[in-house]
């Protein structure tokens, strides 16, 4: 399951080596390649992170199980109901 985390390396590889994208052409809607390439990474990185999120998400558990785990209980002074 942890192998999915490797996907998170892709935005780093795609953006931290500028010679990959420091060119004018091809243009898109008047945007030089340098600009639209980096904009394109926004949705791509978001989707990659979402895929990792889905693939590494543990199965849903009920509140009863959580109570058994005895996690830190927050102080809820004036909690409304």
């Amino acid at each position: 399951m942890r192998r999915w985390y490797l996907l998170l390396a892709l935005p780093f590889l795609g953006l931290l080596y500028p010679p990959l994208y420091t060119t004018d052409s091809p243009e898109l809607f008047g945007f030089p390649f340098f600009y639209w390439y980096q904009f394109a990474w926004v949705p791509v990185a978001s989707i990659l992170t979402w895929i990792v999120y889905r693939k590494t998400k543990p199965p849903e558990r009920g509140p009863a199980e959580e109570r058994r785990e005895g996690r830190f209980v927050r102080r809820e002074g004036g909690e409304a109901t």
Partner: protein, 516 residues
Amino acid sequence: MSFPVDGVALAVFCALFALVTGLGFVAARWKRGDLNLIDEWGLGGRRFGTIVTWFLLGGDLYTAYTFIAVPALVFGAGAMGFFALPYTIIVYPFVFLVMPRLWSVASRHGYVTSADFVRGRFGNRELSTAIAFTGILATMPYIALQLVGIQVVVQAMGVHGDWPIIVAFAILAAYTYNSGLRAPALIALVKDTLIYATVLVAVIYIPGKVGGWGNIFDSAAKVLPTRDTPGALIPEGPAQVAYATLALGSALALFLYPHAITSVLSARSQQVVRRNMTILPAYSFLLGLIALLGYVAIAAKVDVTDPNFAVPQLFIDFFPSWFTGFAFAAIAIGALVPAAVMSIAAANLFTRNLWKEYVHPDCSDHEEAQVAKIVSLVVKVGALAFVLFLPNEYAIDLQLLGGVWMLQTLPSVVIGLYTRWFHHWGLAIGWLVGMVLGTLMAESQDFKSVYPLDIFGTTITAYAALFALVANLAIAAAITLALGRRSRGPDETRADEYDELAETGEPAPTVSAGVA
């Protein structure tokens, strides 16, 4: 620079400002909790869901100063200013891995700050004091810069003098004191809606008026090389190293800032944090568009002496008065959210890691919250004095240094989440070396963030914060190896408390029904 008074714009501006002031006070009753507890006042009771956290983190990280300074940098220097886009893209995959671990261990031990975690993890108060000190030091000028953001738009509407920012900050201080983190969380919903609307209108409407994007990039390519310090549309040669290292170093530093950690810890589960890292890039897209407004201003032949006024002047030139007021309100309210969160975060650090550590170790929960509230006021008065009595340049230089400083806490906070291999004295002395070295490097370059370092005859020009971090890590490792197992502090955390995957934090039904 003198601008004519614009009555319509001012009226719209004041109406929206009044709206969020009301929200700031009402927020005290939202998701009601006992505001006399620091967990409630300073972290909103750790129960913000995915949507609120998205607005809060977005409203918190993308500050008014960002919206003024990034396009100003692109307007003046071209492509180098655009590093903000790759920076805010790669930050989220990184934070996706790291911050759920911090959330997990923090929720189990009731940690409110990153210095709390370091204290528990390494069992050494000198080190946790260093972390808290760095956070407060980096946050103060950042708050001051939010004021500068308000000042710019108020001046652009023709109102001069210092009184508008004094009034704005008095109001901000009052509802932050009253409502704690709930105030910026609620206001962030309004702020981000206004910002998204403004930017979308600006990038759809204005480019058509100045000949389209093709023409905008062409004019920028012509004008940038003629600047006093020549800029370029695309970074070339050594500038590429600077570009990439600025993006990497800034991304690693961003979530070490106290205001970012405060927003992360206020989420109700680590899954909320993880989900947010997949949807926060929406703000990065917005930031990229805002950066390009710098080029739009070039193409529109906006004439300003101070590049900070490039985008405000662009709005004045192309928008009707009422929408200019709307856009300026978006920027000013955009200053209030981060200023509030930053002052809360600094107050949390002071209270937990300085007051409780050194002054009054057995203070009651109520005293703790009360100290935090008062410190949040002091911090704001300090930031205000900064802006009123010192040149704005100081705040800008110090904010640049802030990134360099915050990155020096990475070995203790981020690496500390994975391993206790480093000795606390190694981390502390490494931190000190990194702080001093980074500050000297930036200072020697007249507060530019890139430094030309000579290594074996070749000069590498890169982000000073990364050079300082390398020195920091090298020193920390050397001291760790020298000290070995000697005089290690106790670790109060357990390996299973770092589970970044467990869906442990989802609320019980009574908690989610807590909206008053």
